[in-house]
Symmetry: C2
Subunit: 341 residues, 2 copies
C-alpha cells in the first residue's frame, strides 16, 4: 500500500491512497482524515485502505484524481517522535577519521542515535529556507520507517514487526553549527533543522524481495544541482537494521504510534577505503560532508563547498523495473529573510 | 486560566477547564476536545475558555465536577516538540566541577538545550517504570512553557509573547546512562526517558507578579520519600529566561504550536558555593545528582544513592497564599517487567 498526505490548509493535511505507479490518488475522509489517525489505529484502519489501494491499482475509483507529488506534505507533516540513527558506520568512521578522532569499537555494536525535532517537517518540494550559508547547509539522504505503538524493552526481532511504513528523508544538517553544539555535550539542536520526507510512504510489502532482514536493498539516488551525486545501496553496509534501531530507541521508553526512526546517511564502502564518487565509477555519496571528508583525508582540506542559495537536491528510489517507489524529494536552498515584522 | 487533560481512553485525553482553587473542573467538548486543538488555534479558542474559567471561579457551571488531579494526563499527553534548556547554570557548573571538567565561559551566554522525546509523556500520578535501578534513576524539577506557533529567527523579546501556558515537569533522568551516551557525542536519548508534567497548565497571568521578565519567581517544592527535599526559587539564578530559551530553540527552525520548552533543573546558589540542603537551613535541590555532586566535591565520593524501587517524588508550587498553582506531580519508581509476551 502507498499513502501520501495532501496539503489542505490544515496542520495534518489530507490522507490519500496512492496507486502503485504513482499516477492516481484518492482521499479517504470517511476512513481516516490524516496519517496520524491511521497510525493511531493501524489494525482497524489499514485493511480498509488496502482494499481501496487494490481497487485503485486495478481500475478507476470514485473520486480518484491524478497524483501530483508537488501537492504533498511529508507523510506526517508533524510527528510525536523522530529519532535518527547512524546505522552506516562507514559514514561515522569517515567523519571521525577526517577530524583525526579514533572510533570506539563499541560503535560497531551500540547504535548512534540522536533525538530529532518533529513539530514542523518540510514538505518534499519545500524550499530549505536558511538564514546563512555560513551555517554549512548539507543534505543527508536516508531511509526512515514509521512504527505503531512499540513497548519499552522490545527486542530487535519483535521490533521489526512494528514497522508499518517506509519513507525517504532528507535530514537537512547545518555542518557549521555541529562542532559547537557537540562540543557543548548536549547533542544536536540548532544544527538539525526541519527534515523533509518523500511524498509517498509505503508498506514494507511494496518492496518485495528488496525488503529483507529489516533493510531496504535498493540504491538511494541523489541528484545535486541536476547531476547524479549518489546511488549507494541502502541494504549494504547497514550495520544496524531497522529492528535494532527501533529496539535501541525503545530501551527506556515506549514509542508512541507514528514514531519515525531514521537510518542515518546511506553510505557504501565499496571495497575501497571510503567509497568513490560516481564520476570515478563508484556509487557516490548521500551528503556533501562525506565528499569533503575524503578530500580532507586525501588533500589535507576540503574543496567541495556546502549548499549555496539556489542549489537543488533531489532524492528518489526506484524498483528493479525503474518505477519510482516513494516519489521524489525535490528541494532548493533559499535565503530566509527572518520573521515577518 | 487553568487547564487540564483528563484520561478518557483516547490518546489525547479530554480538555478540562479547572477553577483557580483546583476544586472544580468542566469538560468543554463543544469548544475544544483536547489541549492540542486549543494550541493549534489559541487566538480563536482561548477567549471562549477564559469565559468559562471566570464562570467556574465565580459560581457553578453546568456539568462541572470536583477536580481530581489523579485522573489527569499530562496537559499534553503527547506533543510535537519538547526541548529542554539548562538555564540554571549553577546546576551545570556543579555537575562539571564534580567530574573535574572546566566550564566554558560561553555557557553563561549561549544556552544549553537538548532535544527531548515527546511521544509518550507520563501522567503526573503515573509510576516511573524502569528496568533497572543500575541506570541511576533521578528526578529533575523544572518549569516548562508551551508556545503557539513561533517563527524561525524570533528575537528573545518577541519570543516571550509566544508563551501561552506554564507547567511543572519532572524530567526523569537515568544518570548511569548519561556518561556513555554523551561520550558517543550525539546527546541524550536512552538516558532521558518519558517525562511527567503537572496536572494543571496555567496562563502566565495566573502567576500575577510572580511572572516577571519571563521567569517564575516562586519556590519549586520537591518532596522525596515524604520529606522536604527542595524549595529553590525558580526566579533566582535563572541565567536564561524563557524568551531566550524559545529564541534559542527557534534559531534554525519554526516551532509548531504546542511546543514545550523546559527550564532545566531549578537550582539556587544562595551565596554559598553551590547551595545547601534544607536540613542545613538552605533551599535544597531539585534533583539527587546535585546532592551527590556536593558530596563528591566535599568528601571525594557521593553518599546519597539514586532512586530505588518504591521511592516517591512529589513536586508542587504554591502562590503567596499557599494555594497550589499547578497541582502535584506525584510519582513512584517501580520495576518494569518488560513487554507483554
Amino acid at each position: 500500500m502507498k499513502l501520501a498526505t495532501y496539503r489542505n490548509g490544515t496542520r495534518d493535511g489530507q490522507l490519500m491512497v496512492v496507486s502503485r505507479n504513482l499516477n492516481a490518488a484518492v482521499a479517504v475522509p470517511a476512513i481516516a482524515s490524516c496519517m496520524q489517525e491511521l497510525l493511531d489505529n493501524w489494525d482497524g484502519i489499514a485493511p480498509k485502505l488496502e482494499k481501496i489501494y487494490q481497487q485503485l491499482n486495478d481500475s478507476d475509483v470514485d473520486g480518484s484524481i491524478q497524483f501530483d507529488e508537488a501537492l504533498c506534505e511529508s507523510p506526517l507533516p508533524r510527528a510525536y517522535q523522530w529519532a535518527d540513527g547512524s546505522a552506516y558506520v562507514n559514514h561515522v568512521e569517515l567523519v571521525r577519521r577526517a577530524r583525526g578522532a579514533e572510533m570506539p569499537p563499541s560503535f560497531w555494536e551500540d547504535p548512534l542515535m540522536y533525538q530529532g525535532g518533529s513539530d514542523d517537517f518540510l514538505a518534499p518540494y519545500d524550499d530549505i529556507e536558511m538564514g546563512s550559508t555560513e551555517w554549512g547547509i548539507d543534505f543527508e539522504g536516508e531511509i526512515a520507517i514509521i512504527t505503531d505503538d512499540v513497548p519499552m524493552g522490545v527486542d530487535a526481532k519483535t521490533a521489526g514487526q512494528h514497522i508499518k511504513l517506509l519513507m525517504l528523508v532528507n535530514d537537512v544538517s547545518l555542518r557549521g553549527l555541529i562542532p559547537g553544539e557537540l562540543g557543548k555535550g548536549f547533542g544536536f539542536f540548532q544544527s538539525k533543522p526541519s527534515s523533509a520526507f518523500s511524498p509517498v510512504a509505503v508498506t514494507p510489502d511494496e518492496l518485495g524481495d528488496a525488503w529483507k532482514a529489516n533493510k531496504v536493498h535498493l540504491p538511494l539516488l541523489s541528484e545535486y544541482n541536476g547531476k547524479a551525486f549518489g546511488k549507494p545501496n541502502a541494504g549494504e553496509d547497514m550495520t544496524f537494521d531497522f529492528g535494532q534501531l527501533v529496539a535501541h530507541a525503545a530501551k527506556t521508553r515506549h514509542l508512541g504510534a507514528g514514531a519515525i526512526i531514521g537510518s542515518g546517511t546511506v553510505s557504501n564502502k565499496q571495497g575501497t577505503d571510503h567509497g568513490t564518487s560516481i564520476e570515478e565509477g563508484g556509487v557516490g555519496y548521500s551528503c556533501i560532508a562525506e565528499v569533503r571528508m575524503i578530500e580532507t583525508i586525501r588533500d589535507g582540506k576540503p574543496a567541495t563547498q556546502f549548499m549555496q542559495f539556489g542549489d537543488t537536491i533531489k532524492m528518489e528510489m526506484k524498483d528493479d523495473g525503474g518505477q519510482s517507489i516513494f516519489g521524489t524529494i525535490n528541494q532548493k536552498v533559499v535565503q530566509y529573510e527572518g520573521p515577518e515584522k
